[in-house]
């Protein structure tokens, strides 16, 4: 087997274009996928028109002055604003495709907000306008959901302020104090003090005084109001955030997305290099007409299968270890776990190599084998990345079975466990060993009709 390995390495050394493609292509693809998985989409560019006159952005809540631009900044957390002067200009930019959408804050926005908060009885709330193109449904959905989410955050911030102010007013009503409306100051006695005053008056009245029953009724009402207004803070808090979320992780690793993306990128490279190399190099033996000569007593078919698996696994191991080393310069990987990388990558490479030789033995020609390897690898990888709950339960069960039959999912689990301490390394390694044995057996059977 040693001389066959040397021969194959010599052949690879003399095919620099093939080697570059074999290494560069999966690395580029996997890095792109890794980036796509680890980074959200770029901020959408949105035209922004603020028609509110300068210096008119302030309003008062509970005696405290607030600037509306503070809340507007919530909107810019997820968008890249392009400031324009007029609505027409914004519409033109959307039509020309220069921006994905436009957000318009009308001239009377602050004024309406002031009125709504001034206890003057005004109920008309400010309305922001969002404009976007519907010609690209993906973009439209993206812009709409982004702006909706940010508006919800801005509304939540305002709502929290209003809740706080309402609580303060109710507190004054309960305990007494002073506040200002429309520039005028008011002193409020408060329910607690009112009840005390009434109880004092009642105590001074004769027992048969005819006004006593009415006074008792008012005192009872005051007591009832005091008891219930004591709960007002909690009730107002509940109105502001009626549903709270408690997150409980039942299963699966807690790998951060960027580190999981590294595991995905490395596993995809491992898959492409190994499967393509194993399939291609085995099919090459037939294309060079050497297979018949080799198995005529020089090398057994089993040895040939094992040699191609070892060759492809070794090459993929070198590529992926270098890749991990390179990535560790940019992302903090736990160097203490490096000894586990080798068994995880090695087991994955052997399983992929076995799958590759099976494909090579079945396809029998280098081009057909490469095409088959490529066509099978990509869908398997994407299927294995489908999260549960994103498809129906029945379909997900099918996907799980398909993913379990191919080495990608098990390799990803092993690499994730080795690199990110996601757990389950032993199970993944055992799964890969079983797949390697099964695919090697398929390859060995297919070689019976290979010549």
């Amino acid at each position: 087997m040693r001389w066959l390995l040397v021969k194959d390495l010599q052949i690879l050394r003399r095919s620099p274009l093939l080697v570059v493609l074999l290494v560069a292509y999966p690395v580029i693809i996997s890095v792109l996928i890794g980036l796509a998985l680890s980074k959200g989409p770029d901020k959408p560019t949105i035209a922004f028109v603020n028609e509110v006159p300068a210096g008119e952005t302030e309003f008062t809540i509970g005696g405290e002055v607030r600037d509306a631009s503070t809340y507007a900044s919530e909107l810019f957390k997820s968008v890249e604003p392009v400031r324009v002067r007029t609505r027409a200009e914004a519409v033109k930019k959307v039509k020309d495709g220069e921006v994905l959408g436009a957000l318009i804050i009308p001239r009377d926005a602050t004024e309406k907000l002031r009125s709504a908060l001034s206890l003057s009885g005004a109920v008309e709330l400010p309305t922001l306008e969002v404009i976007y193109n519907q010609e690209d449904p993906i973009k439209a959905e993206f812009v709409e959901s982004t702006i909706k989410a940010r508006l919800a955050d801005a509304n939540k911030a305002l709502s929290d302020e209003l809740t706080k102010v309402s609580g303060q007013y109710l507190d004054i009503l309960l305990r007494g104090g002073s506040f200002r409306i429309l520039g005028r100051g008011f002193d409020v006695l408060g329910l607690q003090r009112t009840k005390q005053v009434l109880e004092g008056v009642r105590a001074d009245l004769p027992a048969d005084d005819p006004s006593r029953p009415a006074l008792d009724e008012v005192i009872r009402f005051a007591g009832l109001a005091i008891d219930n207004l004591d709960l007002s803070d909690e009730i107002l808090g509940a109105i502001g955030e009626p549903v709270k979320v408690k997150r409980t992780v039942l299963d699966g690793a807690s790998t951060p997305l960027d580190r999981f993306a590294i595991a995905v990128a490395v596993t995809i490279s491992l898959m492409f290099v190994t499967v393509l190399l194993a399939a291609g190099m085995l099919a090459l033996e037939r294309e060079e007409h050497a297979f018949g000569r080799l198995v005529r007593g020089l090398v057994s078919r089993t040895t040939l299968v094992v040699e191609k698996i070892v060759l492809s696994a070794l090459c993929a191991l070198v590529v992926t270890l270098l890749m991990l080393g390179g990535l560790s310069l940019f992302v903090a990987l736990d160097a203490g776990r490096a000894p586990l990388w080798l068994p995880a990558l090695g087991a994955g490479a052997v399983a992929f190599g076995a799958m590759g030789v099976a494909l090579g033995a079945l396809a029998r020609e280098v081009r057909a084998a490469s095409l088959l390897a490529f066509l099978m690898s990509l869908p398997i990888a994407f299927l294995a990345l489908v999260p549960s709950g994103s498809v129906s339960a029945g379909l997900f069960d099918v996907i799980r079975v398909v993913s379990a039959v191919f080495p990608f999912k098990a390799s990803l689990d092993a690499v994730d466990a080795a690199v990110n301490d996601a757990g389950g390394l032993g199970v993944a390694l055992a799964h890969l060993a079983a797949l390697a044995a099964a695919y090697a057996a398929v390859a060995r059977l297919a070689l019976r009709r290979f010549a």
Binding site: W3, K7, I11, G292, R296
Partner: protein, 240 residues
């Protein structure tokens, strides 16, 4: 070459070789032997069983019934298409197969084969850059690395131009002169007439004739025919 099984001095002998593929009988009890230094040509129409017989003699596949006197390791095998690695040099190809054959001194065997094929000055060249004729010489040289007493060649000249073909047969005659028994299959009956001591006529898996080219002409009777016409007439008379 005789149709009788295994003479004591035979370099290789086949006895009652039968090969079936499902219901189809590719070989029907073929027996022959070849002496050292003898050149034997297997001729016959398409589908006669020529390549099947050679592959059984060469150990590429087992017979359904019958025996072959030599094991695969004792026989040099040269497939129709050069079974070599085009990305390796001439010397690297020879060295690889010498090592796989378990030759005691691979480097000496490589040097010997380079001298025998006249390719010493092209030893370092990638095989893919050589002409078809030179590739075929390397292909044959690999079959001879183990210094086998018998060399089997499947359609050795099929892809060569006339000049390359002449050089190839010169090379093969040289091997036979050195005592190697050579058995080859061919579609070119003139080649069989010119270069073979013995012709084996196979048709539909059956060995119809085994003897010299002149003997085959005599079988047909009319001395005016050339060898190819005599061969065609021979097959026609036997219903093929």
């Amino acid at each position: 070459m005789t149709a009788a099984p295994s003479a004591p001095s035979a370099a290789i002998a086949a006895t009652g070789v039968v090969k079936t593929f499902g219901d189809r009988r590719a070989l029907r009890g073929v027996s022959f032997s070849a002496a050292p230094g003898e050149v034997a040509a297997i001729i016959g129409p398409n589908g006669a069983g020529k390549t099947t017989l050679l592959s059984i003699l060469g150990g590429l596949q087992p017979p359904t019934a019958g025996t072959v006197s030599r094991s695969a390791s004792e026989v040099g095998w040269v497939p129709q298409q050069p079974a070599v690695y085009r990305k390796l040099s001439v010397a690297e190809n020879l060295r690889l197969f010498a090592r796989l054959e378990g030759v005691e001194d691979p480097d000496a065997a490589v040097a010997r084969m380079l001298a025998q094929t006249g390719l010493e000055d092209r030893a370092g060249e990638e095989l893919g850059r050589l002409s078809g004729g030179n590739q075929q010489r390397v292909n044959i040289a690999i079959g001879l690395l183990g210094d086998p007493p018998v060399l089997l060649l499947d359609e050795p000249s099929s892809s060569l131009d006339p000049r390359q073909r002449e050089r190839l047969w010169e090379f093969i005659r040289g091997l036979a002169t050195g005592g190697t028994a050579v058995v080859f299959s061919t579609h070119n009956v003139q080649e069989a007439e010119r270069f073979a001591d013995t012709v084996l006529v196979l048709a539909d898996g059956e060995l119809l004739f085994s003897g010299s080219p002149r003997g085959l002409e005599a079988e047909v009777g009319d001395g005016d025919r050339d060898f190819e016409a005599a061969f065609v007439e021979f097959l026609r008379e036997r219903g093929h």
